[in-house]
Point group: C2
Chain length 408, copies 2
């Protein structure tokens, strides 16, 4: 079955809003054993007509997002009816829902909202529990000539996502027959680059029959995507782990921070962080994970030298003779964080994010990471990530979380 | 001039990677006084052919990203030559650059890389200082029949962005003539919803001749986009500020955290943060801004009750009788952060991110924010943001940064 996505919205093409719908719908369609053949963004308004006509002639099903609101630039409903040559009629059930939506909220309904309950004659309403715009399903060939099935869906994610999962998925399933989705496995690795994978694995993976594979490189991370039959995927997984076991993080979509929180929990350990250059990013990533409160207690963001001395007792001598970005300071920070917090494990980072502050000896991008562990020797590493400020912070936080993961 | 974008990449349609290129290129094209008429995503491989043929017939210029790499699924170069009926020839300058790229890095060049220096006969090479794949510029109608100008650009952002700015922009400018870009002004507001704008402003903005406007609602933030002539934009700006002056953050694209750092710097003040539920996010947002080290010194992430008592002296009595998520605890955290750090201003947050931990009295989504200021009374607010964990953290951090902004 050929599925296409059409995302409407001027803001998408002006670059003010990232098109997250395309990616979300693509991943959901894949779970149904199907692929999105093409995704198109068009501005609001009449440009939708051309794109819709083309997609309706080419695809079996077209998912359209946006343009169902009450304002004058919301034209998806009208253009769809026009392209199909179907009259727009008021739907009584949708009207009752819309009136109830406003009544519950004790707000008057503007007359503009009435256009939201117009649907092409013969189409089905997809009720919207989370907003005013009902969706619309037009069955294939309803207009008396060959055309794709069409789903008109609202733009706001909190309306789109439940409507897609509850109302579009069952219809796509019955349109597409009982397609068995191929397996998809994504292996996450840290601390190596995409080119390491190319060299070590490309030829060997390409030799596995029925396997589709690809890489996605992010900062400090490479994801290996495997698609195919179960046996092919297991063979590929074993090959990848044979080459890169120490760098392997997860094959269930778990992020590095999720893995660290899980490993801490499994040991019953607690963690403290002492951050200079990452400025709270490591603590922030850890506390993004539900359950972090069981394993994470204290975070120190010691951005100034005074904070390093005052909160963590970093010595004036270490700061003066080695500088804030140095191995001795990173070690002192980690060891003090361990003692002050009473945690089982502590990680410390200190570095130069830039744009200013670099020297010939310690250029922008330099950082020291230290991990202190109760009753063990403290370890420290130098990393060098000459990137923009936010990518530098992310890269150093990846290296620090990976140091924790290896320690666990 | 009609400009279209074609983004190639299977990962974009599988939903593993967000298409950030489309938005970035859209914003850059707008700065040239042009708009992107359509943006299309296609999987790697032969599907590119169909999309490219259509776009070449419809547009004046087509920007294609991705598929210039050395591997077997990188076919953009080959398909472009085929569609245009042009032979692929090796470019001597590009070959010399490629050899130099590997020589500098002391790495051997794989024979696969050689295909990267093949270009359609008569096309121009766009040198790539940041990677192995040179870009390609095919002038309009080069193939001896009407077709759009084509730019083939590499996928990695660090290669794409400089190549676009340095080599594509001048060519698009000369293709498009001296188009005067309309003015674009984006006003950022916090602490109000999109519907407040609709009610107060929609009709009045619609009455301004020659003005195009739109909203983009994010968590705890609404951006108002104004496009048009200078007079129309100034009139619209005045109207918006008349209604929502206290909520106005910036009209130069500055984020809330940039505004807070700028205001702190202007006063010569320093800031300390004491975070429980936001877990370092506020410190992280502040330290994303270049120059933060001049105004931000100490951050406390007191995730456990022990950390709140141990680092910030929150009293056992306050924790026992009011609970960690309470006004007295937020006040004690902010006041202690001020004293311990010696800063001029301190913000504290404590709340329940969930998914567990909520009660009837204090449901998930509840948070208290306090701001302490040297020599002034401490202020505290309750906020309620029943969202998923990360959106809750973001919403509370928005409210806390906004409290700082108002204080400054």
């Amino acid at each position: 079955m050929r599925i296409e996505i059409v995302n409407t919205g001027t803001e998408l093409l002006l670059g003010h809003t990232l098109n997250t719908h395309g990616a979300w719908l693509g991943a959901e369609v894949f779970k149904l054993g199907q692929r999105v053949a093409r995704q198109t963004c068009v501005p609001d308004g009449v440009a939708i007509r051309e794109v819709l006509m083309e997609a309706l002639g080419r695809a079996d099903a077209v998912l359209v997002t946006g343009g169902l609101g009450p304002t004058s630039d919301d034209l998806t409903r009208e253009i769809t009816a026009e392209v199909l040559g179907l009259e727009l009629v008021q739907d009584a059930t949708a009207l009752a829902s819309l009136e109830a939506f406003f009544a519950i909220r004790q707000r008057p309904m503007a007359s503009d909202n009435l256009k939201q309950v117009l649907i092409p004659r013969g189409a089905q309403v997809l009720p919207n529990a989370n907003g005013t715009a009902p969706g619309v399903y037009v069955a294939a060939n309803l207009a008396g000539r060959p055309h794709a099935a069409i789903f008109l869906l609202p733009g706001p994610p909190r309306e789109l996502y439940p409507m897609f999962l509850e109302q579009v998925v069952p219809r796509l399933r019955s349109l597409g027959g009982a397609a068995e989705p191929p397996e998809l496995l994504e292996l996450k690795f840290v601390g190596i680059g995409e080119s390491d994978f190319h060299q070590a694995l490309d030829a060997r993976l390409a030799a596995i029959p029925g396997l589709e594979f690809g890489y996605c490189a992010r900062i400090g991370e490479v994801d290996l995507r495997l698609i195919g039959g179960s046996a092919a995927i297991q063979q590929a997984r074993a090959l990848a782990l044979e080459c890169f076991a120490p760098q392997f993080v997860s094959d269930d979509g778990s992020s590095l921070e999720q893995t660290v929180v899980r490993l801490l929990g499994a040991r019953g350990w607690t963690l403290a962080t002492a951050e200079s250059c990452t400025g709270g990013l490591i603590a922030n990533r850890i506390t993004n994970i539900a359950g972090a409160s069981a394993v994470f207690t204290h975070g120190f963001v010691t951005y100034s030298n005074e904070a390093k001395s005052g909160l963590l007792g970093v010595t004036a001598q270490a700061l003066a003779s080695h500088g804030a970005v140095s191995e001795p300071v990173a070690r002192q920070m980690a060891e003090a964080a361990l003692v002050v917090s009473g945690a089982d494990l502590a990680v410390a980072v200190t570095g130069i994010a830039g744009p200013s502050g670099g020297t010939a000896d310690k250029p922008v991008g330099t950082a020291w990471i230290a991990v202190a562990q109760l009753g063990e020797e403290t370890h420290a590493w130098r990393v060098f990530q000459p990137r923009n400020r936010q990518d530098f912070k992310l890269g150093v936080s990846q290296a620090a979380l990976d140091a924790l993961r290896r320690c666990l």
